[in-house]
Symmetry: C3
Amino acid sequence: MASSRPSFSDRLLGASEPERKLARFLYEPVAKLPIVSPHSHVPAELLADPEARLDPPGRLFVTGDHYVLRMLYSRGIRLEKLGVRPLDGEPAEEDDRKIWQCFADNFQLFDGTPSGLWTAGTLAQVFGIEERLSGANAQAIYGLLAERLGSADFAPRALLDRFGIEVLATTDAAGSSLDAHRRLREEGWGERVRPTFRPDAVTNLGAADWRKSLETLEAACEREIGDYRAFVEALEERREYFKALGATATDHATESVRTERLSEREAEAIFRRALSDEVTANEAGRFGAHMLWEMARMGCEDGLVMQIRAGSMRDYNDELRKRFGTDIGADVPIALDWSRGLRPLLAAHGNDPRLRLILSTLDESTYGRELAPLAGHYPALLLGPPWWFHDSPNGIARYLDSVTETAGFRNLAGFVDDARNLIAIPARHDVWRRVTCAWLAGKVLLGILDEENAVRIAGELACGLARQAYRLSDRERSDV
Amino acid sequence: MASSRPSFSDRLLGASEPERKLARFLYEPVAKLPIVSPHSHVPAELLADPEARLDPPGRLFVTGDHYVLRMLYSRGIRLEKLGVRPLDGEPAEEDDRKIWQCFADNFQLFDGTPSGLWTAGTLAQVFGIEERLSGANAQAIYGLLAERLGSADFAPRALLDRFGIEVLATTDAAGSSLDAHRRLREEGWGERVRPTFRPDAVTNLGAADWRKSLETLEAACEREIGDYRAFVEALEERREYFKALGATATDHATESVRTERLSEREAEAIFRRALSDEVTANEAGRFGAHMLWEMARMGCEDGLVMQIRAGSMRDYNDELRKRFGTDIGADVPIALDWSRGLRPLLAAHGNDPRLRLILSTLDESTYGRELAPLAGHYPALLLGPPWWFHDSPNGIARYLDSVTETAGFRNLAGFVDDARNLIAIPARHDVWRRVTCAWLAGKVLLGILDEENAVRIAGELACGLARQAYRLSDRERSDV
Amino acid sequence: MASSRPSFSDRLLGASEPERKLARFLYEPVAKLPIVSPHSHVPAELLADPEARLDPPGRLFVTGDHYVLRMLYSRGIRLEKLGVRPLDGEPAEEDDRKIWQCFADNFQLFDGTPSGLWTAGTLAQVFGIEERLSGANAQAIYGLLAERLGSADFAPRALLDRFGIEVLATTDAAGSSLDAHRRLREEGWGERVRPTFRPDAVTNLGAADWRKSLETLEAACEREIGDYRAFVEALEERREYFKALGATATDHATESVRTERLSEREAEAIFRRALSDEVTANEAGRFGAHMLWEMARMGCEDGLVMQIRAGSMRDYNDELRKRFGTDIGADVPIALDWSRGLRPLLAAHGNDPRLRLILSTLDESTYGRELAPLAGHYPALLLGPPWWFHDSPNGIARYLDSVTETAGFRNLAGFVDDARNLIAIPARHDVWRRVTCAWLAGKVLLGILDEENAVRIAGELACGLARQAYRLSDRERSDV
């Protein structure tokens, strides 16, 4: 039956030859475009140190990837066996080859998943390995990967060039010193590697480490934060500092969407209760809702693009959180009510031409019901790409199917890879580009889009929209 | 690559030649069927006056179309520039050619949207212009459109013939005099143009203009409405009056779905509080829920088909509502709970063979979860077609995919175009017909439907089901 | 146009020849695999009595099938006419041929529905009738069916062989004597026909017949159940009894998902209030949430696989429930919140390697948002197949599209037919197998799955996963 399958280079481009032919025509120019990565979790330190190297294969592809951890854990494999060290110091697998072998032995679990596609894509595109990973070839492949990852050609900065990454934004706490970013800037990488301001740790008064995060913020600002007014000023200062080091955006992760305008007095009272450790969950919720409103206000004033990523119950599995900490693949989405939740923020700032607010969700039922109608009306709003669990071939197709008819293409913010792992960036962008081109080809074949417009839109989805949405082009920045 | 695209006449009929061939076979007879339009917002006055003409192109395609307004506004174009006049009398663009030019300059924004398809379809089907609208050809096309729209051939009544519109229902406030409908009836157009009874302005006690609407109703009934009993009687009278002038249906727009049976005493008390301007939001909500229940009761008695359109937060953008009023494209959907919300109404009337209740939603997640199971059980219920944001190729396919397996085809109410603009009616029906035929062709190619049954169903979806659902055929009316 | 349609034997395998060719290649071996049916509502009594015969055609295909009843009722056909007898003894149609004729006359209503496919499939696969059912051929087909159904070849046990049913699990109340299962076991059918423990009637303190169900449980245990402690012990005993008679699973139907750990004292207090008939709806709800938690605890201890089927408002139509009782097609789904609802249960048992919990829903919006992320993380969780209204070609495709990218294939529990009617089992499995093979073929053609892996996954979806999920293989049972 081999004849019916596409060649590897045609993967994801369509299920029949006429579709593939047209999708290939759209994809070929797009594949050569630079990578714009306005939202990632790559540590800036990696890029600041010219001598740094990525982790070895096991840590890189398994221990550090919460998508991979969750799937293996779901099939009964203990996290310790995957190299995740318990917080109490109990042992975990240290032999990187064994971690990699365990992944390879279980690679079938990733059939049909984005992790499977990204891994195969990375092995092929970055390392030239088109063979399917298996228990049998695991050690041979390990050797190859480990050698390359240790070489100067694969140093993080070299990878930026190798991958054609035009710009990469990291995600940084409000209290971060941004030392790595300062060094990058001094060495001329400041246009290319940029910080993003993420204040969640200090705006969420109910967070376990809130006090510690506040102290870090105080240290960063070199001032005491004894009341709400000082808190707001500190955040405003930090935003300016981030901006000076190249930031164009802020990032806000929330469980549910709720925005609210507290009076100065209420905000002050709640903040003081937090300082004296008496804040209730309800007060913390209201304060968080208020801070989203404030962040939009600041976004109007300083021109930083605001991103809201909503709908994840983080660290849902308490037992694992206590044992291993956060980011080990135990986050679970919930339903959202964007329409009611955002209304106070939009009432104040939604018609302000200076605001730009990019929304991402894990609740796909809100794509067509709430997000596309909102983005298709408010000048301030753009829709972020399918996020996390939905950054996958079906997820991308559902997203485009659900939002473009109501919001069009120009109300989309393009693609973000959200990667923690630099090595995965090309494969993630490639899946997006292939799937969007196949989807556009389908619309051309249906007579919904002209070929000429499909060509243009394919390029915009690949990087043009992201550049504009995140104010990464000179023109965009001067518009503010 | 031009060979892979369908010809313009094959648009939407399928992405491959075998699909298109079969879809074309289903579509050709269906394309010739008359248009049945049981729910529109076309003003009856336009049709009552033989000398009336449609607006010129800019006002017709842009200023008066809230789908177009919202998209252009979302990209930063002020509504004033699109000819929307602020309520306070501040100026707006008056040059119709400039309004049209702005639309044409930004026509790319409508790529892949129903507005784009409807515009292209209308230009082609009604005006014979297959060229894609652009900034460059805008003025030439304007000239052509303006000339035609001013001619007697394009007078509203002439368009009813030209478009093959068998019946067109308008939407009219409970207190409307229906003068235009009376004139139409006197001139023999009464079977063809019919009013629809929409009492929302008086049943929603919390509406800003409630008192004014009530006074209009009092004037129409020539009676004072000083208590709840009189209010109910007035509505019953008006329903009879609408029916006498050809109405077969009522229409009810609600934010959330909630039905409830108040006692006469409670209803009376709340109504009196509204009269003395003391009603709370909660009371108004309960009263609205009660009035839906009452409307179903009246529907059992007088045989008017009841339509509920639920789930839109109207005039979501307060700032724009204050500046421009309603219907300027700032409505946002919310999640619905039909199952719990409708239960009281269905408990009382759902098994009554006299009731017909047609449900429409903006929350697609309720298609398969609630609406299809309800319509696939209750004799009284039918499902309205995909509504508003979802009246689009993907929206139609999602609707059919989600509801037909559970509700079948005979529990659907066919198509309604919901058009404000008479000129758009053929293109809207044509998109529906093309997409339903392509969808049916897909089912035949999968072996799910026989070709013979697909032919029959295509015709039912095009107009047969709507005729029956809205009791527009003689047989249906005599059944009541 | 006949050439474009697939042959009957290719139905559901794809809409184009290349898809069909590959799907056929996947389907052919899978079609020959045995049927594993771990969740059905077939009465064990039928199988226990070698002389038993299935009902005649009308009762079998119409009166006893709530999917068929609901559709016919929705189009105005009274249930009495379909042979459903009112509880008050009023007459219903007794002539089985007339019931069948009514179904045949209205068979068009089932176009495009799973009931239509299952009926056509059963007539073809089981009775060799490929002609489409219609009013005209109804009586001829009736004669054929009635003759076969009365013959020894179609005795229930003979059908298990004829259909290649490897194992069939019934659903049995906690207080059931399991006499039929005991007889089956004595005659050597115990490995093949197994009971399932369903305690809803006694754990739902608010059920109308709760007291009666409790008495039946008391009789079955031969003990008085005067307090909560005795109640829990009785359930533990019954689970052991079920297990001894071959049960491998328990089944729990709930309206909303809510789990909670009550203190022993609270549970005791609420149980006593139920005994004295004073329990409130809220207390009953909390007790039910607590009993789900307890069932998971017991599942850890005794190794019975736990199934939760959530989201159906049972017997929604009060009038019909009063007149005809339950299970007549008047159940309506509601939205669910799995993430918050299951959290207490998962916090206690979700990481326990002994627990297995299979989740099914009628709220498809939770597939990708909640269920796949949960199953893709927790070792205890597996996802049940599309259920009830969604066990259909589109429903199956939506399910696979939504869950496999996040949960993979190994976190799925395979297929269950949920059939009340033994005769329908092959057609239901066949629709699942055809649609899954067509879906997998699509993934191969897109380059997402290797052909080799698609072959393996097709077999797992057909029966391997169900065998493992329900601990029906020897290996699985010894693992516990």
